[in-house]
Symmetry: D2
Subunit: 364 residues, 4 copies
């Protein structure tokens, strides 16, 4: 099978994530060392749609292991199955441009494609697999919420960045006896807030998976204030919301008596705590800093392992699959199985119990 | 003179700042090693007003060199010369409580006081010097804007934290061809934004000292976008504002045709850029993270030097002075000279010229 | 069962390891929160033998999550089953002091003991389990070579430190076209060298598990030198040795035609490479720096999870077991199963294949 | 004057140093922005001698601000005034190859040269100034021992790396009640050991400038052991030596009753302490790790300032000078004034007094 793989394309889609370059390097070095040609596709699916390809030589991928970002560029929105085409008069039409993509793929002489991205990108990949393209997928999300895999590269780096911010805020909080609410990424799943919160010993962790009762959070702050440790650190996933407030619809909580916006939970909580407790409270939104930077050693190893596994899938002709880790082993599952699905934290997740037992409240 | 100094008090006022513990340690170790007793005063002037003192032993200050925050606690608002006293019915009366402070000082048998803080704290210290207290001041501000000294401890750590955030945002910006505006601390002076911006190679730096022209900032972003490097990093001091927008009064720009709030410059600039250029633009407010964390090696050395110099001033009976660095040497000036004054960046500061020549715009 | 557990002892044995304090904190906070008393035993088994115990209160274990080292102290050598007792005349007698330990354990009213340590400490624990003590073991090794568990806390931090050193050496090597050999910890197993080497993109990785042929290593250096990248980074586990050189006996290779000492591989390799290739070569021995420092976020989470699991084992009366991770899940196995055993890297380990495919040689 | 400067050469000589790329970037961006051409010379003076030049474009120097090492390569030994030429039969002849260098300089159409390096490189530059080349020098040394300047870029990064290693060793030392001796760079001057030692709160600092009495060092270790803090951290500059042991000649102490080699002080001290005190003692040689890595924010700002000042000197035709910092200001002095000179720490340096007062011994 692998005899016929002369030319392999590679693209990165979705948000920035530490370790993208490490994956590109692993796939490209393995392929080039094996006498295959590697074609870099620029800006995710956009490059496939707009026919922007370039050959990646060995030196192009040397020295990129430790760099954040992606040398190929990325794009958040372009899904070939429903691509928004501007009509030049301020309107957009949604079109299926997969024929165009297949044509560019064939013109470029590509035999297979490695697609690195999140659930949206995998959804796009599933659509191209239907058109017969030979695709191997690679999960990418700092949120660690992709279905079918225990871990994704980039998450460990994001946790390290978030925990470092929480550690830093700790000193201010304790010097000033304040409540500090730090909002971390995670719309649907709270892995990042949970891991960073536990790593930094946060007093309260708010997760999308566990609706919080603001009065219980306030009580925790008051207890700590009275108990002599006059400060409280709260790590909040951006999708966390008060109990009884409905679901996030688009970016606002539906039917909420106390409406908050996605990405507004820190301010909401800090304001409420201050009103309920009279304690000085501040909100910090860490933002895009969590997506950037040099990957941790852990993520570089993981990304290299994932990249190598993708190459092995290519060589054995096992297309239409995405690389995952399950039960500590790197393996693969069909792309269609993971596309458009989210992995949230189970209520009985042992780390939640561990955190509760070591003094952390989840506001429930 | 120093024979009579049996008991030395020490307090930390104002916002959190890396290196506070290093100063406390240096003063206390030097004093204890010299057979003096050291009294830690809790929560800044509040502890003086409320009589909250405790003896600091050698072991209390061992191992704190590398820790952020202050083991003594701090307080932002309590100036003994005009202290806000609650009347229990929701109102506050401003009173001069210096008599009370002098009484507590004498009751505790203090012979001198080391006061570590920013311009507000120094203003309070000047008021106590007038009442005859033996005070040595120590400048503290991550903003580096205290009059009379070239550098203050904590600034280098804040610059390192801010530059690290800019570096991290760089990868996202370049992968997504975005404009990223990162708001850094600095209400009156832009030292932090300038130093972090230069350290990280920011494309645009906005300073309180140089009012910006948003159309020039937008042009810079467009130039970069067209020139193939489709991203722009903007480091903005929180006090930066558009030309012609008046002055910040309290926290809002006075008489502004285009009003912005202090601490809102990043959002303002990102919104305007997106409108003017159609480039994807994002705002990040780094916030309190800049105040926290382990001090850099540089700040630990500087704080130790400053602390030792404070001790020398005490021993030689040179009270009423504040430790500063001038022309690269550690020395001191009268507290009254520095209280309530701000040191801003001169227009002809060489680093601004260096930044311009190496590709950075200041939006003017 | 857990009703009877009123007092729980905890000790740390063997070499320093990041995350020890995080485990102590997790066990102690869980136990104290559950109305149990926690007794800290000083300096590992030495404290048990010499009866040095102290109560750990909640505040004693607050704020230690992020600190390296162990607040309890440790000791490398004291195994109660064969303890070296000085006779006061310069000689030592090996004695079984388990009766003494059991007596101290009973006198202190301990109901159970958490023993944190490496294979030697687990061997000591197995001996105490035979005497009826209620023990839960916790694996600890930066080398990650303990039998029965996929991962141990501390390893990730050591990998991060080692990879950072390799990254730093990279710049010197490339600026000066040198061969740099960096010796990393790992006597029997090369996990640390493998993970750090892959994370940093080392050109050659030498492992205890794969005897190297120095001429092949030299050829790799020459190839790189001729190919325009005139430098080579070699990550060497301290137990790596040339093919045909016998086994390490105590600390020297037995029957070796070319004898090297354990902990001398970097110098050996650098000298030989320089002779064989005429390339400028340097050896660096990273040493104890690998054992220290603030644990990574990953290790803090892992140590907290392990500590909580140990508490759960205590509460359910499942003594004589050691906490491990298998197939990605935290679970436990009998202490006797893991004592005195080492887990080495299998020859067909996927990461070795990944490293080979991405340009790394193993000298074989 | 500057009208005639059409083409500017730049080279980096001597050992690796963080900030070299930041200087190259600053000089090149300023020059290119000013319509000058910039020529990169490879591997220091070797490139001048062997005629290895290449044009540096704007994109060649983009993105290198944060990278360690030098994109131009460096060379330790090639001084054009006395260059060692191999005769092909294993011998070397020392020759003055300055005529050859002048020829290559003229052939390449260079109008001026920026030479970045340490005292040896400045000595070479002084020789080329004598032949009429237009040279601006830039001091470079992590040791911070160049005559005529208070600070050199790279030093702050090396201090940060060294202090981080001392911090890490701290945890092991305290957990195991050990004496840890960490050897840091600094043959002639102890700035690195002093700054890192103070930053990390080392208990003993050994400097080339202050010969130590091993029995006093041992007493300090015993005092700490008895006083309940059973560990001691010693930071030793590699040029430190026992009192009465003569001077280092080449790399060995001359006429020493107790001979030690340059770069052997840590092992020497650890062995002696262990014999004198029976305390468990270990030596760590940090080595080349100190030269590498991403420059600190401080060093990036300093290197950018220095680079810009070099450009200003070029533009104003002030050749034969080297950029320095004096009294906190960036300025310049004649190259001949600084060549072959070393700046050591004065005995009455305030930081030494500060360290003594805060508990550090210098072994004297």
């Amino acid at each position: 099978m692998s005899e016929t793989l002369k030319r392999i394309g590679i693209l990165t889609g979705g948000g920035d994530c530490p370790g993208l370059n490490a994956v590109i390097r692993a796939v490209a070095k393995a392929a080039i060392g094996d006498q295959r040609q590697v074609i870099g596709i620029e800006d995710g699916y956009l490059g496939l749609i707009e026919n922007r390809f370039r050959v990646l030589e060995y030196l192009d991928v040397s020295g990129i292991l430790t760099r954040g970002g992606t040398i190929l560029g990325s794009c958040n929105k372009a899904n070939p199955s429903h691509y928004a085409v501007p009509d030049g008069q301020g309107h957009w039409t949604i079109r299926d441009v997969r024929d165009q993509v297949v044509e560019h793929y064939q013109q470029a002489g590509l035999d297979a494609l490695v697609v690195i991205g999140g659930d949206g990108t995998m959804s796009g990949a599933a659509g191209l697999v239907q058109r017969g393209l030979n695709i191997v997928g690679m999960p990418k999300t700092i949120d660690n919420d992709l279905w079918g895999t225990e871990i994704t590269f980039g998450h460990d780096t994001a946790v390290a960045t978030a925990a470092d911010a929480l550690d830093k805020v700790h000193t201010t909080a304790s010097s000033h006896h304040r409540v500090m609410v730090v909002e971390l990424m995670g719309r649907y799943a709270g892995w990042l807030a949970l891991h960073a919160g536990v790593a930094s010993g946060a007093d309260v962790i708010l997760l999308p998976e566990i609706d919080f009762d603001i009065s219980k959070v306030a009580d925790k702050c008051l207890d700590r204030s009275r108990g002599g440790r006059g400060f409280t650190i709260i790590a909040a996933g951006e999708g966390a919301k008060p109990a009884g407030s409905g679901q996030f619809v688009d970016r606002v909580v539906e039917n909420s008596p106390d409406p908050i916006r996605l990405g507004g939970v820190a301010k909401h909580v800090a304001d409420r705590i201050e009103k309920l407790t009279d304690l000085d409270s501040r909100a910090i939104v860490l933002g895009h800093v969590q997506r950037g930077g040099t990957p941790t050693a852990y993520d570089r190893v993981l990304a290299t392992s994932f990249g190598y596994h993708a190459f092995e899938l290519l060589m054995s002709g096992r297309f239409g699959r995405v690389v995952v880790q399950q039960a500590g082993e790197i393996t693969s599952v069909p792309i269609a199985e993971v596309a458009d699905k989210v992995r949230t934290i189970p209520r009985d997740y042992p780390l939640i119990s561990a955190a509760r037992k070591t003094g952390t409240s989840f506001g429930d």
